[in-house]
């Protein structure tokens, strides 16, 4: 083991059985999910605020706490996305200390999935896979295809047949084999499980899932570091499979254990679309199990009716004193527009869900006005423009003459002409 690596292995979440390191996702004995566990003591004193600050401006600055095989040389500068203070959105929803973690600009494919794929493919190579794949609602497909191309791996991607056109195109352009499956995500995922049984392929979210999921922790590390090495009071996070929200908490716990941040009991809030809300339904009923649903929402990236990590996510949210909510398709579209109009961030449908749920949590008083709250925006609006179809009129073409323009603008929005006096003083408008 080289000095930059931390000892880690797969262990069963339920019975604690160890499995070393191999492409395996479920315990042979109790069939529960496997998770990567680290020997945190082996990294104590080596993983510090200073060592992190000296690292590259991407997720590999946290490599000591990622399951990275010996000899792995990080290639792509993934992650380290902006954490922006959201004063304008805060003003609108009654929040004084609101932040947006903006993974809609994650490199290379504009979603937080770039993080998990980077870690999964590092392991795929170490395990000797030459073909990789995934079951995907879109963002994962884009990221797997792009990063596989960069690493020289072949990729076969399976998606539900009704996926947004932009997400299909954004997979095919990288030369990946894309297979549309006549079913929903849950059908696709089940098929991938059977394929992984028969073919010697590395499915990032099937047989490589424990490693893949660890990549999500980097969202948590970045939030803590970008807040000046302190933890927020609350996290609001979208939920599809239920993995991300749990891994952010795991990241916070590791930072506390290693002394990089002070202890804080962060509350976690989950966001889903009402048309596919098995986890929020479980939280609101106080369950630690999931009743599967048949997804029916335009938030396709969250449309997982039988989420693999759903039970654990529901349990965890309740443990932290958090809550989960779900919003309608109409509300999520308003959420997209609200975030764009207030903060200049164009997110996809999932981000509309998260924004709308955050607004509701403030309105309900579940999150206090002064508390430091981070809303996790995980994907880019350019991939789901069809959600905004018909929302904006196609404007008439105005003749390229000042008089024509003047007449036009006076007719539609005369206030636009009257410059703000302060701006005029500064020479910003004439």
């Amino acid at each position: 083991m080289v000095s930059s690596c931390t000892k880690y292995e797969l262990r069963c979440n339920e019975c604690g059985k160890s499995y070393g390191n191999q492409p395996l996702s479920a315990c042979a004995d109790c069939l529960a999910p496997l998770e990567v566990q680290y020997d945190l003591e082996s990294v104590r004193g080596r993983f510090t605020r200073e060592s992190v600050a000296a690292g590259p401006a991407n997720i590999w600055r946290y490599k000591e706490l990622l399951p990275i095989p010996d000899g792995f040389l990080p290639d792509l500068p993934v992650g380290f996305t902006p954490l922006v203070r959201a004063k304008n959105l805060g003003k609108r929803i009654g929040a004084d200390n609101l932040y947006v973690k903006n993974d809609s600009v994650c490199f290379p494919t504009l979603s937080f999935k770039d993080r998990v794929v980077a870690v999964a493919l590092a392991n795929a190579q170490a395990f000797g896979f030459t073909t990789v794949g995934c079951s995907s609602t879109g963002n994962l497909a884009n990221s797997t295809a792009a990063q596989a191309a960069r690493l020289g791996l072949k990729a076969c991607i399976l998606v539900p047949a009704d996926l947004e056109y932009a997400k299909i195109l954004n997979t095919q352009v990288y030369g990946a084999r894309l297979v549309r499956i006549d079913g929903n995500y849950d059908h696709v995922n089940r098929l991938c499980t059977m394929i992984a049984d028969e073919y010697n392929w590395g499915f990032v979210n099937v047989n490589l899932r424990p490693y893949y999921a660890e990549g999500s922790k980097t969202v948590g590390y970045e939030i803590a570091e970008q807040l000046g090495w302190r933890l927020p009071d609350n996290i609001v996070c979208p939920m599809a499979g239920g993995s991300l929200i749990r891994k952010i908490r795991k990241a916070f716990k590791e930072l506390i254990a290693l002394g990089l941040v002070e202890h804080k009991d962060v509350r976690f809030f989950g966001a889903q679309a009402t048309g596919c809300s098995p986890i929020s339904h479980a939280v609101r009923n106080g369950w630690d199990y999931i009743e599967p649903q048949r997804p029916n929402t335009i938030a396709r990236s969250l449309a997982i009716g039988n989420p693999a990590d759903g039970p654990a996510a529901a349990k965890m949210i309740q443990e932290t004193g958090g809550w989960a909510e779900d919003v309608s398709d109409v509300e999520l579209v308003s959420g997209i527009q609200e975030l764009a109009e207030t903060e200049g961030i164009f997110t996809e449908t999932a981000g509309g869900v998260t924004t709308a749920v955050a607004a509701r949590l403030y309105a309900q008083g579940r999150i206090g006005r002064d508390e430091t709250t981070v809303v996790c925006i995980t994907g880019n609006g350019l991939k789901t423009t069809d959600a905004l179809e018909g929302r904006y009129a196609t404007e008439v073409a105005v003749k390229p003459r000042l008089a024509a323009f003047d007449e036009y603008i006076r007719a539609i929005d005369v206030q636009l002409i009257n410059a703000d006096p302060e701006l005029a003083l500064a020479g910003g408008a004439r």
């Binding site: 492409p23 529960a32 395990f127 049984d197």
Partner: protein, 97 residues
């Protein structure tokens, strides 16, 4: 009446490698009872200490989650394909390490 049972590799290790076989069971409890006698190791693997199906196992009847069909009460029909699969599965061919 006969239904076809399909298992992934993770479970087929308890059936001497058989990933597919016929069953006369008419519902899920009947199928689990059949496992008790035909494949005791499989039975032990898929059931918890209370004799109920483990919560990490999903059961599909002709591509539909049995929970959408009524669960234990759902009656199989002749020719149905019944699949048992861990909710997080995959990984059989450990190689490399």
């Amino acid at each position: 009446m006969s239904v076809k049972i399909v298992l992934p590799t993770a479970l087929a290790r308890h059936t001497e490698g058989q990933k597919s076989f016929d069953s006369q069971a008419s519902n899920l409890p009947g199928l689990l009872a059949e496992f008790d006698t035909k494949f005791p190791a499989l039975s032990q693997n898929v059931k918890d200490d209370n004799g109920k199906l483990r919560r990490f196992i999903n059961v599909y009847v002709n591509d539909e989650d049995i929970r959408f069909l009524g669960g234990d009460a759902h009656q199989f029909e002749d020719g149905d394909e019944v699949m048992l699969i861990p909710s997080i599965a995959g990984g059989c061919c450990a190689h490399g390490e």
